[in-house]
């Protein structure tokens, strides 16, 4: 019987990431050869870059959003490749592939859901720190479980967890929906501390995104 570690695939959703995807894939190859890139309708050379390094490249003919790309990647990994677990990582080089073994080790010990949680230092704007914490507190208040660093896209889960998490969101709010389902279903999880990497090309959340996030949390609470 194959171990979880040997049947774990890394999924990278990518949209117009030709500039950074190559760097991410080169770093990732040091730790795994099981890489799936989902090109979410990019108009640049993302697919070309991905084809050079990734094991599987799936291409959306239209841009659907991060949530849809992750869903495609997960369905391919679990249904076609027979994966036992997947690790999600962003394509914009804001996650360190050197932390991948920590996720795999956690899965190997029987954990079914592993969340990458950033340790926020002074390099992170205080507004983002406050927004991030506020979202976690609100989820705890409304859904009963404290989920740290909700916007973090670096996470791993098994097939059984995916079947429970199955999200409807197609865009960036997918992380929120996953967190809320984790809280609502009281799914057991463990956290892996990850580095906070911000680039000057940071596509991270703005204050408006945070407000939209808070609105979305309330919408989920009301099952809208």
């Amino acid at each position: 019987m194959k171990s979880v570690a040997s049947e774990t695939w890394v999924i990278i959703p990518a949209y117009n990431e030709e500039k950074y995807l190559g760097r991410v894939l080169a770093k990732l190859q040091k730790y795994t050869a099981k890489i799936i890139v989902v090109d979410d309708g990019s108009t640049d050379k993302t697919t070309v870059v991905a084809t050079e390094c990734a094991t599987h490249v799936l291409t959306h003919r239209l841009n659907l959003g991060k949530g849809a790309a992750l869903k495609t990647g997960c369905e391919f990994a679990f249904s076609v490749l027979g994966a036992k677990a997947v690790i999600l990582i962003d394509a914009d080089d804001q996650h360190d592939p050197a932390e991948l073994p920590a996720f795999i080790a956690a899965l190997a010990t029987g954990q079914t859901l592993v969340l990458g949680v950033r340790t926020f230092g002074s390099e992170v704007p205080w507004l983002k720190r406050v927004g991030n914490t506020l979202a976690s507190v609100l989820v705890k208040f409304l859904f009963g479980t404290y989920i740290p660093d909700i916007p973090s896209g670096y996470k791993a889960f098994t097939k059984s967890v995916y079947e429970q998490l199955r999200w409807q969101t197609t865009d960036y709010a997918v992380e929120l929906e996953m967190s809320i389902k984790t809280a609502e279903l009281k799914l057991p999880f463990t956290v892996v501390p990850i580095k906070t990497i911000y680039h000057d090309f940071d596509k991270g959340m703005t204050m408006l995104d945070t407000l939209a996030l808070l609105k979305q949390i309330l919408a989920y609470r009301m099952h809208l």
Binding site: H56, L58, T59, A68, T72, E75, F76, V80
Partner: protein
């Protein structure tokens, strides 16, 4: 006849023209064309002879015919917006599902190639 009635009449006739064009292009079914034309004919009649609605206005305790028309218009708009919202969601879900399925099938067929 007031300016408002003339403008309302011109607007309704223009809309009937748009409906007939869509009917000819088959983007609207015959039933839809008839329903929309009936609605616009009703609109013209009411615009020209608002007193026809006075009985209903009194029964429903509206102070003016105009108020009743505004409420009716809002009700129709709400139904249309509601309908198009769900139709939009359904189409979005179908497109998403199709695109994701295509991506997976394409990759599967590439894997089978020697």
């Amino acid at each position: 006849m007031t300016i408002f009635q003339i403008l309302a009449g011109i607007f309704a006739v223009s809309m009937m023209y748009v409906v007939s064009i869509h009917g000819k292009k088959k983007t609207l079914s015959q039933t839809e064309v008839i329903s929309w034309l009936t609605l616009w004919v009703f609109f013209i009649v009411i615009a020209l002879f608002p007193n026809l609605l006075l009985g209903i206005v009194h029964v429903l305790h509206f102070s003016r015919v105009f108020d009743l028309l505004v409420v009716l218009a809002l009700m129709i708009l709400t139904v249309l917006v509601f309908g198009s919202y769900f139709s939009h969601r359904e189409i979005k879900n179908r497109i998403e599902s199709l695109i994701r399925q295509l991506a997976i099938e394409e990759r599967k067929s590439k894997r089978k190639q020697p």
